[in-house]
């Protein structure tokens, strides 16, 4: 064990002991002692190079901030695994998509995040960074610039990186996971369940797939279209008032996912479920991109019949007809 680790362990022991004592003495002057000890602890962490910050800058052009945030997190986790870090997001003052609650939902799924700061002012961010950043990082212009990154700026590269990466860092709240499992258990019993989340232009695909596999229960979060008939095994959860975390938990509880590469698509990849991603975010990608047998990304430009066949083939591979 290195002297640094010994020091860290001793500090942790001291802090834990103090915490246990002070939690029963939550009044002055013990609370002051607690604050001073904590501040000293943080300073030592910074000195030891254990204070890590990730700064994301959000500009007006972000299509879906929660999704882009997930893609960003998938890339910027500090090594080694388990190392905690702070997150700062610089946000535009005028946003049109009303999704700050979803942004927090995404961040809270990462136990390694010690703190999340939302800033609508650059000077405030700079002020806090001076406290959170390592001293040597502040003086090193190369390191300092790599700390900042514009979220959503990497185009199709970020999707490919996320598709091929491992995602052990995300953890949904236990209550959401429990409720998701329970709902599907009540709705589908032992049948296989597939979550559908397809773009509007591909809605006919949903009925085609559901009609071809009556043994599988499908559900989705879009409103029912009155003009299109719905297969009996295809159910909408639209109107059920699920929060983002609850929808994610349902995706996680399902056996497979077919749909957009949005925050639910990211969740399906994180969960390690068989996934078919649909959409045009692949840029110039002419054909499917696969990650082994578990995930397949099909461009939206594919012929509907080819899409249907590819999806059915994929489902048959994972869930043979008649198998439970």
């Amino acid at each position: 064990m290195t002297p640094e680790n010994r020091l860290l362990l001793s500090l942790r022991w001291l802090i834990n002991l103090t915490y246990r004592g002070l939690s029963r003495l939550a009044f002055f002057p013990f609370t002051l002692l607690y604050v001073l000890l904590n501040a000293a602890h943080k300073l030592i962490l910074l000195r030891l190079g254990l204070g890590l910050v990730r700064v994301g800058v959000v500009k007006g052009a972000v299509v879906s901030l929660p999704r882009d945030l997930m893609l960003w997190f998938g890339r910027i986790f500090p090594r080694p695994p388990g190392r905690q870090f702070d997150v700062c997001l610089r946000l535009p003052r005028e946003a049109a998509d009303a999704n700050l609650q979803d942004v927090l939902s995404v961040v809270l799924m990462i136990p390694r995040v010690r703190s999340i700061g939302l800033y609508w002012d650059s000077s405030s961010l700079a002020d806090d960074l001076a406290l959170l950043q390592l001293k040597q990082d502040r003086s090193d212009p190369v390191v300092s610039t790599t700390l900042h990154e514009e979220i959503g700026s990497r185009g199709s590269t970020q999707f490919l990186e996320f598709l091929h990466a491992d995602h052990e860092e995300f953890a949904l709240p236990v209550a959401a996971s429990r409720d998701g499992q329970t709902l599907l258990k009540r709705q589908a019993g032992a049948a296989h369940v597939v979550c559908l989340n397809v773009p509007t232009e591909l809605r006919p695909l949903v009925n085609a797939i559901a009609g071809a596999r009556p043994d599988i229960r499908f559900f989705h979060f879009s409103p029912e279209l009155p003009e299109s008939p719905r297969a009996a095994n295809n159910q909408s959860f639209f109107g059920c008032g699920f929060t983002l975390q609850e929808r994610m938990a349902l995706v996680q509880a399902a056996d497979a996912y077919v749909g957009s590469f949005d925050e639910l698509g990211c969740t399906a990849l994180i969960s390690g479920r068989p996934v078919i991603l649909l959409g045009s975010d692949a840029g110039e990608q002419p054909d499917r991109i696969s990650r082994g047998e578990i995930a397949m990304w099909l461009p939206a430009s594919m012929e509907p019949a080819a899409l249907r066949n590819a999806a059915l083939q994929f489902l048959s591979h994972h869930f043979a007809p008649g198998e439970k």
Binding site: I15, Y19, A26, F27, F28, P29, T31, L32, Y34, V35, L36, L37, N38, A39, H41, K42, L43, L45, Q84, D86, L91, R93, E94, A95, A96, D97, A98, N99, L100, Q101, L104, V107, L108, M109, V113, R114, S115, I116, G117, L118, Y119, W120, D121, S124, L125, D128, L131, L132, P173, V174, A175, A176, F221, F238, G239, C240, G241, F242, T243, Q245
Partner: protein
């Protein structure tokens, strides 16, 4: 904390931020309390000559709730703060909000702010003693008496434009009434059930009001579990939660609505502090001592004729009577 403590750190510079600390080890997870805290920050920032607010929300993941909320623990606090978070976005002066779940990180921030002598609420000493007056209206009453106005809350940051678009799409030319009927018994964390309002009276009221005033559109607010299925069958009703929206959207819609009607609880607090016309019913008599008015008073000291308090349990006749009074006055005003 006294005004003297706030003013101890005042600088004459207008860009100096006010620091707000909401430590969940002694502050509750509650919509009304979070909004009252934000309103206190607004008032204190205004008094201190600040034009920006930096908020610190502090959670210890191992002990995330206060002793008054023992049902909040390390396995469920994420869902609870996730559902409450938009309430902390309602100050127009908000410059940053930090959610910190690492005591050493907060300790360092706190000492920095203290060393800079920034105006802070609760004060450093108040925080050390876990003292936070998040209920009373004494600062608001004093400020209003002195200045004749209050620095009101606004729609949660980032939800303004969305609310405008929603109202254009779903509520064009309607008299929009935001409604919240407190139903603690149906909530995920049931508490103080004696404060609940009679749902059947509200159902009957909505039916009668919709028949007599077809221009009225009722937006039913509150958690998905907190209203019954009968609400879905009522005429002239929209329920944002069934459309996939959450608390941030609801607070923004309340801020834009023509009128709020509901029991005394979190949404009523929002209507009070964003200066909407309102009828707040079923107010706890115990609350009188915290808000500085006697039981039965019709208005808050800073309220106007369209901001009505009703201290008893409501029934459909009372609701309809107040609704017609307010609807008539507000409609006339908007036409004029």
């Amino acid at each position: 904390m006294s005004n003297r403590q706030i003013q101890g750190g005042i600088s004459t510079g207008a860009t100096r931020p006010m620091i707000g600390i909401y430590d969940f080890s002694y502050g509750p997870y509650a919509l009304g309390d979070a909004l009252t805290w934000t309103m206190n920050l607004n008032v204190l920032a205004s008094q201190a000559g600040c034009d920006a607010i930096d908020q610190y929300l502090v959670i210890d993941p191992m002990k995330p709730g206060s002793r008054y909320q023992p049902f909040v623990h390390q396995h469920n606090y994420i869902s609870i703060i996730d559902n409450l978070f938009p309430a902390f976005l309602c100050s127009p002066m908000l410059r940053s909000v930090k959610l910190i779940r690492h005591a050493p990180t907060f300790g360092l921030f706190l000492l920095r702010e203290v060393a800079r002598r920034r105006p802070m609420w609760p004060s450093f000493f108040g925080h050390l003693n876990r003292r936070l007056d998040f209920i009373s209206h004494r600062r608001f009453n004093t400020h209003y008496r002195k200045h004749g106005q209050l620095p009101w809350l606004t729609a949660p940051r980032g939800y303004d434009a969305w609310a405008d678009a929603f109202l254009r799409t779903h509520c064009e030319d309607r008299f929009v009434v935001a409604v919240n009927v407190r139903q603690g018994a149906l909530s995920m964390t049931p508490a103080s059930l004696y404060r609940d309002s009679p749902l059947t009276e509200w159902h009957a009221f909505v039916r009668r009001a919709a028949a007599r005033h077809p221009d009225a559109l009722f937006l039913i607010l509150g958690g998905y579990t907190e209203w019954d299925r009968e609400m879905l069958r009522l005429p002239n009703v929209l329920i944002p939660r069934t459309m996939g929206f959450g608390l941030g959207h609801e607070l923004a819609l309340l801020h834009r609505a023509d009128l709020f009607m509901g029991s005394s609880s979190g949404f009523a607090t929002m209507s009070t502090f964003c200066n909407k016309p309102y009828l707040i019913t079923n107010i706890q008599h115990l609350f009188s001592r915290y808000i500085g008015i006697p039981v039965g008073a019709r208005h808050y000291p800073f309220g106007n004729e369209n901001q009505i308090l009703y201290w008893e349990k409501e029934n459909q006749d009372v609701l309809l009577e107040f609704f017609e009074e307010l609807h008539g006055r507000l409609r006339r005003r908007s036409v004029a």
